[in-house]
Symmetry: D2
Subunit: 348 residues, 4 copies
């Protein structure tokens, strides 16, 4: 089968013929149809420091996808051949205390497809039955292909709790953008978006942000607080991973508020714990992946209800052969979310 | 009346005659009988950088106390002259959104007695009726005098939630020490105490810590994790304010665990947010003061039930005239908790 | 001043001249401008069994209102003369354990204005400062006058938790109707309304119910479950007080779901506890009044954001002199919500 | 193999030779060593109305047990032959929304061993790998054999939340008795036990109940409330299933308190919803089974810590051949908890 492979410890991917994966008794073989391109994939493509430390070539890349079941192992009961599915890309060990208590998303021995083992930028992928998510017919293919990052947004929003609360989002890359309609649909009373990129802020407004702020404006914290009677927002959704944004974001939160951190800083962060967390009585939540499978049900409900429309975010759908174009578009900041098409019907 | 006054911007306190405070219609005048000496008082006595920035002399010091009601304002209903009382030392404005939604302990306009206004190291103190806590007859005077720091311990333990969970406490000064029997009584399945001071660790063991660790031992994190099947503790109670202890403490917590931060770092802290909070899915709680008055009811229940015995922690009860001795004992590390006696019956 | 008085133990109210209330140091005198008419008022007007057992004539009736501060007691700090205000009608004792731990709405010694003491159908009313709610200028008078029942709806919705959850409402009288836009704004993924009154169901659909059901249809439970994949709804908001509705409502809730009960049954209710609550692992919440003042802030946020529009619910605004017409309209089922106008500008 | 079989729709069990169960790829064959006898087994033995409606003979009975792994299916990873194990007896479908969101204990398609399919009163039992619980070496066999009912107690206590709260337990059969040391270890500040059986109340006191009450005493509710300053207990753990006890129990709970219902009423229950649940703002929780596997970890932690000692509750350990004696002892009220011994070493 065709697959996008990180072949050697250097920038770029290779389009290669590799064997179709074999499956065990509790696994499912999926014919990939559409796959989302994530910032993580761009890190691996570009071969930055993080990628060099984490990825062991050769490895098929990609972790956001949907497709159809092509074969099932002998013990598989929940899905059958032909079923239209997506899948949770974090493969947990299912035997540790975290997995056995509903916390598989933070399993210490998790393996991520397309990072720690072969991924979804291929014609076929093998997944444990546990990870497979049968798709509701009402979910369009393109949306289903990006349930993984949409799930990150939903997980963050729901962990923080936004019902009748004011929300600031620092960093509106594709997940931050998704978090805007998610937060509104989940009951946020107001949503403020903050980023350094004016084009992203424009998209944020289109997606329902009540107000947008350029992160570089000097009075940022005061400007946000002014919209909440001077108190600060109830909830911060940190989706940039930038130390400066985290610092400013924490200042924006009211005493007793909640900060949910999803963005991943590339290095240690210097925080004023006393003033920004302890005295304020803040609740700070680290967010990783998606709850299995509470987040998936919530994501499905949001998309089915029509309250979360991802079309403004999906900027490109490209045949997978054009993967180099995809990473080029991302690098130039010209893409919001790119979906690669692996289906037979793709227009190559 | 007699009072211990921070008279000038320099080390030390002065024993002075000052006017008995007057009270308004919703205030209560209390004849102080016993008062606890806190690390904060030592900072003010020693006139360190924090004290210089915060305290505006002249000011009566002291915020932990008990006594008897000497007079009540015309609108006071909840207590009467002669009642034995303690009081919450954080005077909240009671009109802001936080105060009006059960979060008075993090009111933005809080004033702390003995810090922002005249305090309890005096023969009399005026308190708002709202802050006064009528004492159950079963609570001994010495314990009642230190309900404030005991309440800090209770607030931290209850905010974290310790019922059938493993707990590590970093920093066993007087509040950390109190947190040991509090955590056990609140249902912790195991309590580990960590400090640099061997004498405090010995006291920690006496107070019920299952295991104690010197913070300087090189394999500290691994040693604690080894006691929890390698997973890490469910709960960290951070009571040192030390950047190193916070860093080590966060490493000790299992994925999905909770860290409650009460200790106040004197400067910014450098954290590995990605590895220690975000990927682990941690919940980090800033803790300030005591919940009004949920914490006070819990504190009372613990002391009344006999499950929390503070006697091993109260190392000295001294007549207030010996305040210089008290601060000297603290400076030399020879005191756990000192109570000053302002009663007529004191043995001066 | 003029007031609507329950003068004698018999049906009807009398319009009488009574003394303007005097106020103590912590009380506020309010010039009433608009007041909502509640089903409770109709019970008192009609003098049914409940009213005969609870009301002790003579008593001024009415508990939902807004107006302007006419005078303040000497110790009042939060409001001043001329301020536009509404007020929480449950007067809690503020000294019991419930009041001291953020649960004043279920104080055992609560007194309700217009029920246990003189109420708001009058030109003036005296209220404790604690109960007064300063109004945001963006809130229209008519909406402000019915913050009390709207607050019941908000309290029920927020206690249950509806963010990305399916919701069934049994009983769409005026509070049930209000709960529809409230639940949608608070993040409900779908809202189903159930009642015996077709006109109310029509109004429910207009207010945003996704589907409406006549409570008398024979397959009601199955029909609701069919909309939730056969599982049942996540949340029941019971607002009818009917034993039959409670029974059917509990059957509609999925295993592990939540039922919030606000409607007050007039007699004991026979429940299949084993099948409908215990085996299903249900969470059943009794709801009373409004949280002081968390619910009020949430109510304000909803109305200010424009997400909750009460205009379709307010069917009549009448000068208070026409109170007999108001109760007649209610009796004939021709009113949703009636507001009485006590302002100088009323069109009498 | 030998097994205790409900052979025909009539009272009694038969000791029969039946085939050893076969196992699929994800199943585990367990050689039973010890098994607890439950009230449910007595219902089936006695063939009462419930049993007649639920049980379809022939069926091997028994659902509480421990033993050793005798064989594993090809896809089993978590346990190996020879491992000492217990198992969760509720076999959930693992594919429904409840199972996929951490609520397998209330799966709508659950099958219970010894009730809906062959059970544990046999030399061997086949269990899904998912249900198998590897035993810590520190857990004695007899305790491990009754982790199922102990888990019911732990689940009820932890769902209610007892940390620094007062607790009343209505009904101290074997699970109610277990709930006493569990509640104390989990942090209850006081535990009151209520039953009609004086012998059980004596055992309750021995197990740590602060006070015991005969349910027939006329002033029961007032007597319990008197111990909590007249307010009522924070938490009710209802473990009797008696309508009268539920009614009295709800009256004992303070406004805003929590009632967790585990006992299963045999018929509908008549409740004063308005006075006992709605006005009081109660939280009522239906409890079923044990959380998979949070409850199991908590149960293990409690037993390992030595804080929960079941020895006073296990009144008899009998060779399984004496099963008729066991049910006779239970019928005569002479047993607290009976364990049947299926091991080779049993003293038959």
């Amino acid at each position: 089968m065709k697959a996008l492979v990180k072949e050697r410890p250097e920038p770029g991917f290779a389009l290669r013929d590799v064997p179709i994966p074999t499956i065990g008794p509790t696994e499912v073989l999926i014919k990939v149809e559409k796959a989302g391109v994530c910032g993580t994939d761009a890190h691996i493509y570009g071969w930055d420091a993080w990628a060099q430390a984490r990825i062991q070539p050769p490895c098929v890349i990609g972790h956001e996808f949907m497709g159809r079941v092509a074969a099932v192992g002998s013990a598989v009961r929940a899905v059958g051949v032909g079923d239209r599915v997506s899948a949770e890309g974090h493969i947990a060990d299912l035997t540790c205390v975290l997995c056995r208590t509903g916390e598989a998303h933070i399993c210490e021995r998790v393996e991520i497809i397309g990072v720690d083992r072969d991924g979804a930028f291929a014609e076929y992928i093998a997944m444990p039955e546990y990870n497979v998510w049968p798709l509701d017919p009402a979910i369009p293919d393109e949306f289903a292909a990006i349930f993984d990052p949409l799930g990150n947004a939903v997980h963050t929003v729901m962990a923080a709790g936004v019902s009748i609360r004011s929300v600031a989002i620092t960093g509106v890359g594709s997940i931050g953008l998704m978090a805007i309609p998610v937060a509104r649909a989940a009951g946020a009373s107001s949503v403020f978006a903050i980023d350094v990129n004016p084009a992203k802020l424009e998209l944020a407004a289109k997606l329902g942000a009540d107000r947008t702020f350029n992160a570089t404006q000097p009075d940022l914290v005061a400007a946000v607080k002014a919209l909440t009677n001077g108190d600060g927002v109830d909830v911060l959704l940190e989706m940039s991973g930038s130390g400066g944004a985290i610092d400013a974001g924490l200042q924006m939160v009211r005493n007793g508020g909640t900060a949910a951190l999803l963005g991943i800083p590339s290095e240690r962060v210097n925080l004023n714990l006393a003033e920004q967390i302890i005295f304020k009585g803040l609740k700070v939540l680290g967010i990783n992946g998606r709850r299995m499978f509470e987040t998936w049900y919530q994501t499905q409900a949001l998309v089915k209800s029509g309250r979360v429309d991802l079309r403004p975010i999906i900027s490109h759908v490209l045949p997978y052969e054009r993967f180099d174009d995809a990473f080029d578009l991302m690098k130039r900041g010209e893409a919001a979310k790119i979906v690669l098409d692996f289906s037979e019907q793709r227009n190559a």
